[in-house]
Symmetry: D3
Subunit: 163 residues, 6 copies
């Protein structure tokens, strides 16, 4: 056993939060979207504010904004940063609610995880408020659509089929 | 303006956390799944632990378990409860990683939001750790698959097309 | 200095979280209220949803409900408990918005701090959303109005002058 | 129903976290105060450290400082920022304890919500520690008194009657 | 690659939060201690409340109590539970401050992690408040000393050399 | 009693978060270490990933990284800052696991509390995962080893006996 003593574990494979301190703070923006698929009766109730648990989209918007601020507390290797603006909006389709979030900051690291997390938590909140009315819901198409700022330059998704 | 004074706002439409205190605590269980779609090269890197940010699935598992415990802090109208068991596991397909989470408790309210939140945050963590390698990822098919306990009895999903 | 060594500090005066484990869980309820005093022009904007930061009362309601759940994390000697129901509602007067919160639980300790904290954070949220329109706001009259359950029996406040 | 499909919800009325990224970081300071009204016997117990739950003002000071740091987590549309200094102090009157908090930062947005939140949570902590001795307490007069830094220049309240 | 598809990852080795739902809630108690070793001049300053950052032990006591409540949020595989009592006390020696914490609950799982976490965070707080006066501090001897309740019966440590 | 009225409490002795706003942000780094003493059988199980609760060191690494980000929420007088990099690694000895954490930032205040907190929480996580196998564990030797950046210049510990 002695030979095991004092041997440094190989840190390869061990998760790490990579160093962003050499980077300069720049303006960064990210836009993400997802959809909550549901029965057409449910989208009608959401649209007419007839869900008994209360205002679905108003609650989901706030949950999404709050989640953007908590992203580094949820995603272990995410760097903390100070979000400078968060918007969460919704489109109601026949059998889905689409969530769109946009996050901006001036920082050393990007905000795509913040935008994706805002979408995911807003979608989960929609699910939570509608679940007694509709057990069939599915959350999908959670993806980054735009990203600006940072050394790799702007990026834009043109379709979900890119993956 | 005097007639506006002292008028109680109609609380209909206002979000509320519904009363669960009349319910008896019972054993409850929920199972949820989702998929992170990615390039086949990325699933290979995940499987061989070759992602430079570190152990993707180990990190995602812990993020998912921690998120299950924080669900009522993320989802505004969710009741707090004490999760009694959380498991998060993964299946690697050709062009996706599937996340499965199972949560159990003995409480007055169900754990489906905890199971869905665990899946969502584990998927976001996979995304975060792989995003420098693959910008095309999409998170989808986040759905409840099983639910037992509570007054409405057991429920099981048979396909994603149910919605 | 030797005589100081090993002397137990007198714990009197030291804050403690008192032991509630010998108590039996019972149904408990608390009702609290406070007011945000503001210019009449501001109450009109709140009532007509004309505040540029967005839906003031909807946001404040959610902030209050979330704060009720976080009470033991904010108030150091408060026992953690699982709130079973939270309602936050509002009355708009000529020059104030009144916040009312009601919290219920089945637990070993009461929920008056949860009800008061929900009111305080809802009021602070109203302040935050209106502050660019009105610098004169004052939050006041934060008080418990009703409390039921627990060994000391029901209690009801009849006026603010009781203090 | 087809005409509802793909219609963007009007985001007006939807809460948003406004964009502060174009602003330059400047030194900012805010000072807030509130009072916890209580029976004269209770102020005497607070002053003489005779409250059985322990050191009331020491506990309230720490709760207030911690709450200042958590303000953006409590108030949904509040921007996160890094507080650079927080002081919480107390004055004991015949039938009240006055709480005063001062917060400083170098950031793109002001710290008045941080100062007000520190006061509110310190006051709630005083209430929590004294409530078994005095059921009559009322928290009031929570207001901003000074604010410096930012584009609108310094501001100072001269009396509570300004609202 | 096809053979990798749909292969369930062996969950052995994957962290899990074990199932405590079959257990009955019982009264449980744990007692932990640790020491912050420091220069004798520093213990004198702590004892005479002469540390410029303020009341060291009062602040550490509150930090420890708050940390006990947050244990499941810090320690990934720890079950959430509702602590029913927390005490944190101190003994000042010639060249150390000893921290002792005791936690009680009625739950399905023990509170030893809560007691150890309370000690660790109280010790870190002492370190933080004294570090500008003394760079030599070392935290050590963090150990469980007593544990009662649960299926394995009471346990008591008799010395640190047991390990 | 009148003479007590309006007397400002002497704030000396009251804890405060000192003002760092006059400082300039600089690159700062801190390195801390601690040890979890355990039975040799337990270190073998940790090394061979044979602990039934799952991957001990992988879980501890993530817990430590997450704790570094939460340090100002745990340690009351600690300034919030944005960590730019966190590494947590381990060495397995005959009868101990050594934890080493390194934290970097560009900020107005140092990161030694972040490095120490990461070590402490990683060590507590190791303890939690091994405690059903080994009741004798003791956490010790938690100390700062290196610190660079800031007005006082670099500092390096040469032995634990310095205290």
């Amino acid at each position: 056993m002695a030979d095991r003593s004092l041997t440094h574990l190989d840190p390869l494979g061990g998760a790490r939060m990579v160093d962003v301190t050499p980077k300069e703070p720049t303006h960064r923006r990210a836009l993400a979207r997802c959809r909550v698929w549901m029965a057409p009766e449910t989208t009608e109730k959401v649209a007419s504010n007839a869900i008994t648990k209360g205002d679905v989209l108003g609650t989901a918007r706030i949950a999404g904004i709050q989640a953007a601020k908590r992203t580094p507390d949820l995603i272990p290797m995410c760097h903390p940063l100070l979000v400078g603006a968060v918007h969460v909006n919704f489109t109601i389709g026949d059998d889905y609610v689409e969530v769109e979030s946009q996050v901006e900051t001036v920082d050393r690291t990007g905000v795509e995880m913040e935008a994706l997390t805002a979408c995911a938590v807003a979608a989960l909140t929609i699910y939570d408020m509608c679940k007694s009315a509709d057990r069939s819901m599915v959350i999908g198409e959670l993806a980054l659509w735009e990203k600006t700022g940072g050394s790799r330059g702007p990026w834009r998704r043109t379709s979900l089929d890119e993956h």
